[in-house]
């Protein structure tokens, strides 16, 4: 029961971070691995799975505001299907023992990038626009 509460709270924190546009998954995975007994592969699976309902709602909202360009979606998804089959099979196969290290390297590189590279202002983000 205690664990359920922990997962609910972790999910909420992740949701807030991704709602702010800062990407929740890359924070959720290390939180699960470092603070619970969940393995790296399981943490990645949980993150992929838990984003499904969140992204369905977000897609519906974006569809209403006509923010989705379907001519891009078709071709990119075609490539992505092959990529995800290959990536997942490597993750579940030869890379399984090294997944945490691979993810750690990815986190550090992305963290350094996000720390030093200033993003363009976001639409509707008043603080950034008024600087």
């Amino acid at each position: 029961m205690n664990n359920l509460l922990l997962f609910l709270l972790l999910g909420m924190a992740m949701g807030i971070i991704s709602g702010l546009g800062l990407g929740g998954g890359k924070i959720l995975i290390p939180a699960l691995v470092l603070f619970t007994s969940i393995t790296q592969a399981e943490a990645q699976g949980i993150t992929l799975f838990s984003f499904i309902p969140i992204s369905i709602i977000a897609i519906l909202t974006h569809m209403k505001e006509r923010n989705i360009k379907w001519s891009i979606v078709g071709w990119v998804v075609t490539g992505a299907i092959f990529g995800s089959i290959l990536g997942s099979m490597i993750a579940m196969g030869p890379f399984l023992p090294y997944l945490r290290t691979v993810f750690g390297i990815f986190l550090i590189v992305l963290g350094l990038f996000e720390f030093f590279v200033r993003d363009q202002p976001r639409e509707g983000d008043h603080q950034l626009r008024s600087r």
Binding site: L4, F7, G11, A13, G15, I16, I17, S18, G19, L20, G21, L22, G25, I27, L28, I29, L34, A41, Q44, G45, L48, F49, S50, I52, I54, I56, A58, I59, H62, M63, N67, I68, K69, I72, V73, W75, V77, G79, A80, G83, S84, I85, L86, G87, S88, I90, M92, R100, T101, V102, G104, F106, L107, L110, F113, E114, F115, D119, D125, Q127
Partner: protein
């Protein structure tokens, strides 16, 4: 004109392949998709956000299927996190206009560097 559309199509397939590969390998993927849509396909930021979601959803379903077949899916935990995530996502989107994102972004970047280091040196 035909060559141009062929190049565009190849770019889209390439971006898709890289996105899918990262999505399957490390379980996240949207992070790099939004900037590459903006940079390589000259997509407007607002459109890139919406479009990336429509791309990540089917991609994640395939990754989930393969993870599940290999016994790496803990569906119950995923459901609880998703419920928390729905509530949190709503709150985050509402707070978006009131929080100075740039400092928060740097804070999380620092957190990622620390967490990444711990993950590598954690046995």
């Amino acid at each position: 004109m035909r060559w141009f559309s062929l190049i565009e199509r190849t770019k889209k397939l390439g971006i898709g392949f890289a996105t899918g590969f990262i999505n399957g390998l490390i379980g996240v993927g949207g992070t790099l998709l939004v900037p590459s849509l903006i940079h390589f396909l000259r997509t407007e930021r607002r459109i890139a956000h919406g479009t990336s979601l429509a791309i990540i959803l089917p991609t994640s379903l395939i990754s989930i299927f393969i993870y599940g077949k290999n016994g790496a899916m803990k569906y119950e935990i995923g459901i609880w996190i998703a419920i928390g995530g729905l509530v949190g996502g709503y709150l985050g989107a509402r707070w978006l206009k009131r929080i100075p994102i740039i400092w928060l972004k740097r804070f999380f970047a620092l957190l990622m560097i620390i967490a990444g280091t711990r993950m590598i040196y954690h046995s």
